[in-house]
Every structure is written in C-alpha cells, then in structure tokens.
C-alpha cells in the first residue's frame, strides 16, 4: 500500500519544496494533507466524483500559487484548507452543480462518510461524532454554515437572525470547544 511510503516533511521543508516546484514537494503535500482536504471537500460537495475533481483543482492551484504563500500568513494548512473550501463552495454554488445535486443536510454527510469510507484507523476519529454532538447546537450550526457552507459571519447573522457580535462570540466558543477537545 502507498500508505507505507507516505512522505512527510517539516512545514518549512515542504513550503520550500513547493516553491521550487520539486516533485517531492507535490508528493509530500499530497501524502500529508490529501485526506484532510478530501474530508472537508467531501462534506461540502457530498459527491465522490466532484470531490475528486475539486481535490485535483486544489492541488493544481496550490502548486501554481505557492509563491504567494509566506509564513507570516500563518500555518500552511490554514492557507491550503481555505483554498480547498473556497473551490468546493464555488463548485456547490455553481449552476451546473445545483442542477445536478440536491444538497443534503450536513448531519447526513457525517453519518454517510463514517459508514461508507474505509479510513485508516485514527484514535481521534472515534471522538468526532461525539465531538460534533457535544457542540451546542447553536455553535455547531454557526460553524457548519461558515466552515462547510461558506457563509460569511454577516450572512450567517442574517440567516440565523442574530446580531453580528453574537455570531462572532458563538463561533469563538465553538472553536474554543474544539481546542479543549484536542488538547
């Protein structure tokens, strides 16, 4: 299995390799982040073929625009996962996609993925459903809207009929909850 030969580089080495367009940079990027990115993309588009297309587009975009990344802008993953989220959300919002698929509720997606994908054993994965369940509904819905549906916090405020301040606070609370969980 390819998993045995998975490449892993430090973030600095990886950024350098990407910016030099070394082959090893592409391979390491894929081996280190494809599963995380694919999980996020799949939860947004909810379709295997589309998710695979988007993942490919994400890697092409990262490869082409790696020069525009610098460490002042934060962690590499934050940069690439936002590229992935933006491309996936754009895809879902495109007319073609809307005509083809009826979006399902995110709750269904999580269950579907847990049931149907043979993923490698991850101890922390066991907690995901509990974690998602542990989030208070209002925190979860805001995080879902922003993270998976691409709402801005302004749009989320309109959607949920809440003041902007409350949205921001609840978003922060949800992420605080995640931080607590992972520490």
């Amino acid at each position: 299995m390819a998993k045995k030969h998975k490449l892993s580089l430090s973030e600095e080495e990886l950024v350098l390799a990407l910016q030099r367009h070394d082959k090893i940079g592409a391979e390491a990027l894929y081996d280190m982040y494809s599963a995380s990115l694919y999980g996020v993309i799949f939860r947004i588009v909810n379709d295997t073929a589309t998710a695979e297309d988007v993942l490919q587009e994400v890697f092409v975009k990262i490869w082409h625009s790696s020069a525009s990344y610098n460490t002042n802008k934060g962690r590499l993953f934050t940069w690439i996962v936002n590229i992935a989220r933006n491309l996936a959300i754009d895809k879902v919002r495109s007319k073609d996609f809307k005509n083809q698929y009826k979006n399902q509720e995110l709750e269904n997606n999580v269950g579907y993925i847990d049931k149907h994908n043979s993923t490698e054993y991850k101890p922390e994965l066991l907690g995901v459903r509990e974690l998602v369940d542990k989030l208070r509904p209002e925190q979860k819905s805001i995080l879902d809207l922003v993270y998976f549906k691409g709402y801005t916090h302004t749009e989320a405020a309109d959607e949920l009929g809440m003041p902007l301040g409350t949205i921001k606070t609840r978003l922060r609370m949800a992420i605080q909850q995640l931080r607590k969980h992972f520490n």
């Binding site: 299995m1 390819a2 367009h21 082959k23 592409a26 391979e27 894929y30 081996d31 494809s34 599963a35 995380s36 990115l37 694919y38 999980g39 996020v40 799949f42 939860r43 295997t48 998710a51 695979e52 993942l55 490919q56 890697f59 092409v60 490869w63 082409h64 002042n72 802008k73 934060g74 962690r75 993953f77 934050t78 996962v81 936002n82 989220r85 933006n86 999580v110 993925i113 994908n117 043979s118 993923t119 490698e120 991850k122 922390e124 994965l125 907690g127 995901v128 974690l131 922003v146 993270y147 801005t152 916090h153 921001k168 606070t169 978003l171 922060r172 992420i175 995640l178 931080r179 992972f182």
Partner: protein
C-alpha cells in the same frame, strides 16, 4: 493588555483563520500578530484546532487519485529539466525520419501513377484508332446502303408503274410474230392509245442477236408511214423487264428492225425481225 485581550475575545482571529474577512482586515490582523506575541500564539492555537478538526474528519481518497493529481501537476509544470531532455532526444529523430519516408513513398506513388497514365494513354489511342476505322467502315456501308436503297426505290416505283400497265384497261398487249427469215422470234408490246404510251417486254423477248454495232429499233406504222419509237437492246444494263419507248397516239402495225447503233430515220425493211398488224 486589556486591549489585546478584548481583541482576542472579539472573535476576529477565528474569522481570520476561517478566511472570513477582506484582504485589508487580514493585513491588520497580520500586523497585530507581528506586534503582539500573545495574539500570534492565540492565532496559532486556533489554526491548530481547525487543522485537528479537519484531520479528525479526514477521508482517505481513492488510491488512484494520488497518481491522477500528481500527474496533473507534473504535466502542468513537472520537472522542466526532464521534459526538455526528452524533447531534445525525440525531436531530431522524428524530424529526420518523417520527411524521408514521405518522399520515398510519394516518389514511388508518382512513378506508378505516371506509368499507369502512360499505359492508359496508349490504350486510349489504340482504342480510338480502332473505333475510327470502324466508323469509316460504317460510313462506307451506310453510303452503299443508301445507294442500294435509292436503286430499290427506283425499281419499286418502276415495278409499280409496270404493274399499272396490267391494271390499266387502256393498254393493249400486242404479240409481234417472227418474219419468214426469223420464224422463232417474238416480242410483246404494250400500247395505250389513250395515254400514248408504248412499252416493250424485254423479259419475254425472243430476238436474233443484232450483231456488232447494231441495235433493235421499234417502229409504228401509222397511216402507212413508219414512225420511229426508239431503239433498245436485249441485254440492257438497267435490267428492266419493260422498257418505255417513244409515245405514239395511233398505229396500225408495230415492227422491229435491226438498225445501226443509234437507230435510223427509215426502217431497213429487209432487216425486219418481228411484226404485228392490228
């Protein structure tokens, strides 16, 4: 410090990590993070948490996708050095080989095409010559057929006329009998006083040979005087059985004498071969 704490608590850093802000706001957050290590640290914690969140929900894509994705990168940019060396080794070969094959095959093609054209030309000329000869033959045949046709038309019209002689009740058929010198001679003459027409029937004529430079001459005796009705030969080339002679309205007798070729003004009575009185 209170300000920084309030800044952190405002939730703006979470929005930054989620990419939910304008480029301008992002620059402000980055500037704040540069200035204040505690903001930098908080930002880093949020990023790690979101990274863990994503990782916890990660789904392994299908195994084939790795090659597809990596190949799309290699094709788009790849390793320039490799691509160039591959191109350099390929280009001269293909550049050399293709034109040579082309000229070889085309020249062979044209050779065969030229030979085939030449052969076709020869065949065409031969065929044309044969056809021309046949056309000439056909035209000659056509001319002779036309001549025949004219001859037959003449014959048919003459025969019609001949038949009319028998149909016409005004014709009388007069049997001229041999003289004492020529007892076996005989000749039939058809005469229509109404139409003033006289014909001799050559097919049934039995006359002695006239001799060299001589001809038969037909006479009518009208009112005691001989009237010239023209000369004729037994073996006429026009092969008509009935020969139309000069016209005469009245006659008491018909006679044939042998006269010098071209005929005489008066009959040579001792050379009379047949005679009939009406």
């Amino acid at each position: 410090m209170e300000e920084i704490r309030a800044y952190i608590e405002s939730g703006v850093l979470e929005l930054y990590v989620l990419g939910d802000m304008s480029a301008e706001e992002k620059l402000q957050v980055e500037a704040m993070a540069q200035k204040h290590p505690s903001i930098q640290a908080e930002l880093s914690e949020i990023e790690k948490a979101m990274e863990m969140y994503a990782d916890a929900q990660s789904v392994e894509p299908s195994a084939q996708l790795r090659d597809r994705v990596l190949n799309s990168l290699v094709i788009n940019l790849g390793d320039d050095r490799n691509l160039r060396t591959v191109q350099h080794s390929n280009t001269p070969d293909t550049a050399r080989v293709v034109p040579i094959q082309r000229t070889a095959t085309t020249s062979i093609f044209y050779k065969y095409a030229f030979a085939a054209s030449l052969l076709l030309l020869c065949l065409s000329v031969a065929a044309l010559a044969i056809v021309y000869n046949r056309l000439q033959d056909s035209q000659q045949q056509l001319v002779s057929l036309r001549l025949n046709e004219q001859k037959f038309t003449r014959q048919v019209s003459f025969l019609n006329e001949e038949i009319n002689v028998f149909r016409d009740p005004s014709f009388r058929f007069i049997q001229l009998k041999g003289m004492p010198k020529t007892p076996s001679s005989a000749l039939t003459v058809a005469w229509s006083a109404k139409r003033k027409k006289v014909m001799v029937d050559l097919s049934s004529a039995k006359l002695p040979a006239p001799g060299e430079g001589k001809q038969y001459q037909l006479w009518a005796i009208a009112n005691g005087k001989p009237v010239d009705l023209g000369v004729f030969d037994k073996t006429t080339a026009d092969s008509t059985d009935m020969k139309l002679m000069k016209s005469v309205a009245s006659a008491q007798a018909f006679a044939v004498t042998i006269e010098p070729r071209g005929g005489s003004v008066n009959p040579t009575t001792d050379q009379m071969v047949v005679l009939a009185s009406l």
